[in-house]
Symmetry: C2
Subunit: 217 residues, 2 copies
DNA sequence: ATTAAATTTTAGGCAAATCTAAAAAAATTA
DNA sequence: TAATTTTTTTAGATTTGCCTAAAATTTAAT
């Protein structure tokens, strides 16, 4: 499989997990910052290889084969991210672009040895699940912090927005995966939250709270 | 720089270190298992980018810029090999093909952090020197084991032939980097050597001895 | 010094992945 | 439902990297 084919597969996979239904040509084009006509070309090629179900004008979905391939790419991407953060001491806002390259390295043995070396992690530095060697994914129940009500407690398990800007903000506030968050109060006017984090009280906007995933405890 | 350009640069670099003089189109084609006409095409492109000095029918050499680029690719290749062997527990005959892919990952920060993580090694698992971040190479004086005479001692510092077959043979004989080798005797008929290795005596052919680099002690 | 052989380059083509512009189909709206 | 808008596909070019076959150049041999 070429890099380009892998990138299309990954994009279709991500779009499917967001909306479940068939994926449109335009949605793919937009996410990949390419033209719809280029997408059509590639979809034909992927259909030829039995990686997607494609019918003209009808949108596209992954076949089982395609889904497994996509999961393996996601697996590689997220394992490399763990490597970069845990072993090479990158911060979580820096790793995406490098992992984007590393995810295309072809060697099953490599990725499985890397998995062991990292201690078989189940989540990447952003809290997203890492598929195992068979494509199995363990999903921890997660909620947006903004959905919790007063006096509920959560542990930060992931982010919705993964942009460097947001991640840097979190670093500044010392919010990271595993942080324990208590909802002290919710301002009904703007939905901002007063929370207790690492023993310290602070206020965060609804925009922040709706991009933080927590596990309710 | 594309993968293909990087591969050409690396090939020219390796051919230059072997023979010093200008590199011929055919030599490149042979090493890369491609056609001479393809090489010509690429040489024009590299010359355009000021990475090689190229005159029709006159062979090619690297510019300073080209040489530095090539060294950085070699640096990446060899650091990744160290990672694979030291951290992921690959054996030295398995790492070449994977490193061949990893060497094209683009991120200076990544490679320098990897370098630190590995403890700034100066040699790869085959004993070949690793250029530093500035392209500087520390060359240890090395000789072929076959060039030593009776009663001289050496420490294995590298291999000339890096084929999996040869490397597996060495593993079987328990010869690795750092092994101390004493020349007990040399058979004038076939130039085979009787050596002492890790306290144990064994006989090796001239073919083996002329593919093992040692540091004389 | 010619001729023959080997090397290298040019010319023309092909496949992958992209693009623009135009045509076709589907969805939306009046 | 008919017209309009949006989405999607097709048609035709372009670029990169490769190929084959033929021409040009250099090297070697007689």
């Amino acid at each position: 499989m070429t890099f380009s084919e892998e990138n299309y597969l990954k994009t279709i996979y991500h779009l499917t997990t967001i909306s479940e239904s068939g994926v449109s040509t335009n949605a793919i084009a937009e996410m990949m910052e390419t033209k719809a006509s280029s997408v059509t070309d590639m979809l034909k090629k992927l259909a030829e290889k039995d990686l997607v179900n494609y019918k003209k004008y009808q949108g596209v979905s992954l076949t089982e084969k395609g889904k497994l391939n996509a999961k393996m790419i996601v697996r590689k991407h997220r394992l490399w991210e763990v490597f970069l953060v845990d072993k090479l001491d990158f911060s979580w806002d820096e790793v995406h672009d490098i992992a984007e390259q590393l995810e295309h390295i072809k060697s099953e043995k490599l990725i499985n040895k890397l998995d062991d070396f990292l201690g078989n992690p189940t989540e990447d530095p952003h809290g997203d699940p890492i598929p195992d060697a068979n494509g199995q994914i363990i999903n921890t129940e997660k909620h947006l912090l903004s959905e919790l009500s007063e006096n509920q407690n959560g542990i930060c398990v992931g982010v919705k927005d993964t942009s460097p800007e947001f991640l840097k903000y979190l670093d500044k506030q010392e919010i990271s995966l595993g942080s324990k968050i208590e909802i002290m109060g919710k301002e009904s006017f703007d939905l901002s939250l007063k929370i207790k984090l690492n023993g310290r009280e602070l206020t965060i906007s609804n925009k922040i709270a709706s991009n933080l995933f927590v596990k309710v405890v």
